[in-house]
Symmetry: C2
Subunit: 372 residues, 2 copies
């Protein structure tokens, strides 16, 4: 796993780079849509490629339960199974099993949880998480971590950090990387800056090829997210890739890029798209609203995607009202394009030395400057 | 509306032709997938083109109710509204309003029915049906007909034929054809051959540019369908296009082509596809069945479509089990391709003078010869 920084913004922490993986090079910053169950919902791989998607995220927890990582391995790995031949990042399952609430019990060994599908009981350990991710053929695997809910008590956050560090060590031990994939550490610590520092320093000490920041965008004020990211920018090695987990809200993306983050994933563009929520240059809209019933304009008049070039708001609203699958397809397509293009424009701005201007002008249009 | 017959099978009634429409030429025989609500469910127009779809069917009844034909007309017509720039055939709404059962009342003037969407009351007349189809910008419009359910009493079928003829006259009177579209007559008469004859002769007398055969594939034995089609082959003009409504079961398609039918539509490939029902060269399968859980082969090993080239049965079964939209997309894609390719192969066989052999070899493989 090689990471090159091609350019740095002179006024912010933003950088443009290249991440070399077994399935090709990813130009960073990069936004990764989420393919939880071995498909980015409603999209074909070729459509993602045409949109400019370079890498996707897939979910260890879901694929372990169904159809099973051993089946996927027997069928040639996740890339072949889902016909996606570019890089794949897999999360560790940590976030999902900790989201199960009452259905799980945490021990030092790992997490015992009940499947959300059939109630069957499973023990997920750092070693199993790594083994599943390697069976899938992940290009970038994640350490199994403990993600505490927000708001967290200090003691819960402390315990989560302790376990995250201990499990990271076991993951690193278990990870073979036979297919050339890399294992990233995940920094936890909720919004406690000293715990974040402790966690980051311990992981950096273990020398991972890349670092993720987890447990953000879980309900905390944006200000607190940015404080954590400011700290991460100071503590994480400047020559290693950095991945901010679960962030896709456009202003958050730009603020994170300004703090040296390189990779992002989020279900927002796909989930919102299926429900008629549409990203537009001036904020957002819900295409199901009656005001669009006769509107001949495209979803976003500033957008040059396939959907905006060929379909009216009136048509897409009709598709939603009629319950047509194409409604979800078109809004998902546009939304993924919107975020991929936003991050690509940020990258171009970094390479051309005008990232702060780009960020300010985007934000002032997007939210009337609210998030500056 | 010009129709050319390029070749005739010397041993059956099959013919290969060209149908010239305002939106381009259709090579016949042709299978038209159904785009009820201004979208062929789960498919993009570009995908249909890539599969070889030349013409689609859309539904007057549904579009009249939602989003309304006047809105579609204001937005530039149905082709533009749905981004489909090849020919569109619209049915008249007759089949749908007669399917409403207790929710409608038939008078000589037309049909008073309650919308399946909101219960609002509407009067659909032959004149309104034609007006809606012209507002949509249909390339081939259909006369408003009375389609009696199967099995029908003789008196119900007789009354249906009388009304179908009377309404066909009114449709022809009302039809302007300003955009170059054509209006086809529809032969009804259930399985009563003398009523079919009476209806066909009356419509031929009115000199329509093409003729549809309606009220078949509604539950009658295949033998009775073929008897009606034998009669139609004798009675309908040999130089006019003929459209068999609602037929998509592969053996029915070939038997109808052998009896001089040129155009077909059916919801089978799309509806079955969404439910995991898949056409294959050796019959059919349901991909949701457990036996495909670990099957690395494509849906149909004899198929060269995008889906069969890139995805395994195991993957597609997984998508269904996981409730993913892509499941419906992939099976719909394959099924539409299967029927379009079947009809295209029939056409090539007619042009090359080997249609009977092609038909026999396909049928013996498809159903072990059961339907010969």
């Amino acid at each position: 796993m090689r990471f090159e920084v091609l350019a740095r913004c002179p006024r912010t922490g933003a950088r443009a780079g290249l991440l070399h993986t077994p399935h090709g090079v990813v130009e960073t910053p990069a936004f990764m849509p989420v393919g939880t169950q071995a498909t980015v919902k409603a999209m074909l791989p070729e459509e993602l490629v045409s949109i400019g998607v370079q890498m996707i995220l897939s979910n260890t927890y879901h694929l372990y339960l169904r159809p099973g990582h051993t089946l996927i391995e027997r069928l040639g790995g996740l890339h072949r199974f889902m016909n996606w031949h570019r890089p794949i990042l897999t999360d560790s399952g940590g976030f999902q099993v900790f989201s199960l609430g009452g259905m799980r019990r945490v021990t030092e060994e790992g997490v015992i949880f009940k499947s959300h599908l059939d109630g069957s009981e499973h023990l997920f350990t750092p070693e199993l998480s790594v083994q599943v991710q390697e069976a899938l053929g992940s290009d970038v695997a994640m350490c199994f971590d403990e993600c505490v809910p927000y708001p967290a008590t200090r003691s819960a956050a402390e315990e989560g950090v302790r376990r995250t560090i201990s499990w990271a060590r076991r993951c690193k031990e278990a990870f073979k990387g036979l297919k050339g994939g890399a294992l990233f550490g995940i920094v936890q610590g909720s919004t406690f800056l000293d715990l974040r520092k402790l966690c980051a320093e311990a992981l950096v000490e273990m020398d991972f090829p890349g670092y993720a920041v987890g447990g953000l965008s879980v309900g905390e004020p944006h200000r607190e997210m940015y404080e954590v990211l400011d700290l991460m920018d100071q503590l994480l090695p400047r020559d290693k890739p950095r991945y901010l987990m679960g962030v896709g809200f456009p202003p958050n993306l730009l603020h994170a890029i300004a703090r040296g983050m390189d990779m992002f994933d989020c279900v927002l563009p796909t989930r919102n798209g299926r429900n008629g929520g549409v990203f537009v240059e001036e904020g957002k809209l819900n295409i199901k609203n009656a005001q669009y019933a006769e509107d001949p304009s495209p979803l976003d008049p500033h957008c040059d995607c396939y959907v905006c070039k060929n379909y009216s708001r009136a048509y897409i609203r009709h598709l939603f009202k009629a319950g047509e699958i194409l409604a979800a397809r078109l809004c998902t397509w546009h939304n993924v394009y919107f975020l991929v293009r936003l991050v690509r424009r940020a990258r171009e701005a970094i390479l051309e030395g005008r990232f702060p201007d780009f960020m300010e002008s985007f934000l002032s249009r997007y939210m009337g400057g609210f998030y500056r």
